[in-house]
Amino acid sequence: MISIDSIHRTALTLMSKAAIEIPDDYLDGLRRAAEAEDGDLSAFVLQAMLENYDAAKEDGRAMCGDTGCPRWYVKLANEARIEGGPVALEQALRRATADATHNIPLRPNRVHPLWRTDHDNNVGIAAPEIEVAFEPDGDWIELTTVHKGGLFGTDYRMLFPSDGIEGIRRFYLDSLVAFGKRGLACQPAIVGIGLGGSKDACMVLGKRAACLRTVGDRNPDPKIAALEREFIDLGNSIGMGAMGFVGKSMVVDCHIEVGYCHTGGMQMSVHAFCLSSRRACARLHGDGRIEYRTDPQWFTPYQRRETVEWPPAAVTAAVA
């Protein structure tokens, strides 16, 4: 049985880690971008960002003043038991979001869309988002918080099979060029692309691709992995760098996730996870152990299963 108290305390720690500590995989990616960047303004910006990450950790303050929109991804292993059940879990995550907003502090970004009512705690109707998925084996739960920027860098388009790779390439470039100018996408970013699904599933897949996979991770489908590599190079060949200045650091990594879609369509979404790629994860075991990490390891063989059955547990465990 996993206690609600440990869920609340772990969630508070995760909120703080996400807001303050840039994950190592993104940091290493940005360092490589900074070394390669030869545009003087872009290089200055990247250097300032690297100093900013250090300042955030040293001072224990949020790395960016726009602390984004906190959200939660929850994984439940099949044998996990939670004190108070799933409703208590949701309540604990909402409470931790409110408490952490005050304690860290985070910016109270969440308001009512029409009345602009602000509870000053990032909690409101449908906020924070709490998404839940399952895994076949184990008695653990995993909590991942992502504090994603809320305004620019994301787009959706219904493409069709006849658009082909050329059409996908065009919409990818359109998204980067449109939101890259003046640096509105806060690039260099981890770019996530969702292909297929339905409109909502396509958005969800693309967002998870951006926020829940680490720099250097490749899709297990070799042809999709090749497309990811091509898109990293394509994005960095636009001639645009940080803040939209002349440069070549636009994309730290590109992750593509696919979902089966209507036979006549090819939905596509593009998402930019920004210079403050804030994510933190923990696994809470049934015996009380808690392990923290920055890689959510979300896309297991089970999550990407192709049909009714799924790969055996040993394969899943090796990845997780």
Partner: protein
Amino acid sequence: MNKLRLSTSPDRAALAALSLGDVVYLDGTVYTAREGVYRRVVEDGEALPPGLTAESATNFHCSPAATVEADGSYTVGAVTATASFRFSKWIGPWLDRSGAKLILGKGGMNPEDYRAHFVPNGAVYLTTVGYGTGALLGRGIRRVRAVHWRERLGLAQAVWVVEVANFGPFLVESDLAGSSLFERENAKIAAGLDKVYEGTRPAVMKRFGETDDRRDEMI
């Protein structure tokens, strides 16, 4: 790149010395004002809090990550600008009424706004860097002097008056002549875009926005 310190109530000579792309650190007092404040001052014609414009000529498009403690004091963590282009419709009368000479924000404004409003008011635009050097900017904050209009506008939209030292980095985005760093960089990048788009194809189904003629068919 040129690095310099600047007062938050700069005289014209200090502003004239700024070149596009210079790195600037500020000393003095800055205040936040964004859509909530602009609407109240420009549309509703309300006066700014007494003494504010004498205290500072620097308006930051920003909401701090800050909290009000039980004893009424303020804790400011990180500070990051919000995108300024959204304030275009208010900026002319705002510069006139506030007397602001420095606008700090994210991403600059439309170059037309510089020419129409900034130049006649002798104001320049400084952009934050990154974006999101929130922790570095947070270090430049000495103390919160006042928070105005919090009850009506909420923490994020209130007027935060903060004392700053070595507050930065910022980049000079517009100068007294109304030139824009982003406009200059966009033009350079645009020259190479046709080549980047080789091997792509327009979508088979168009969208409004790609045409503004609502009589058009999208297929």
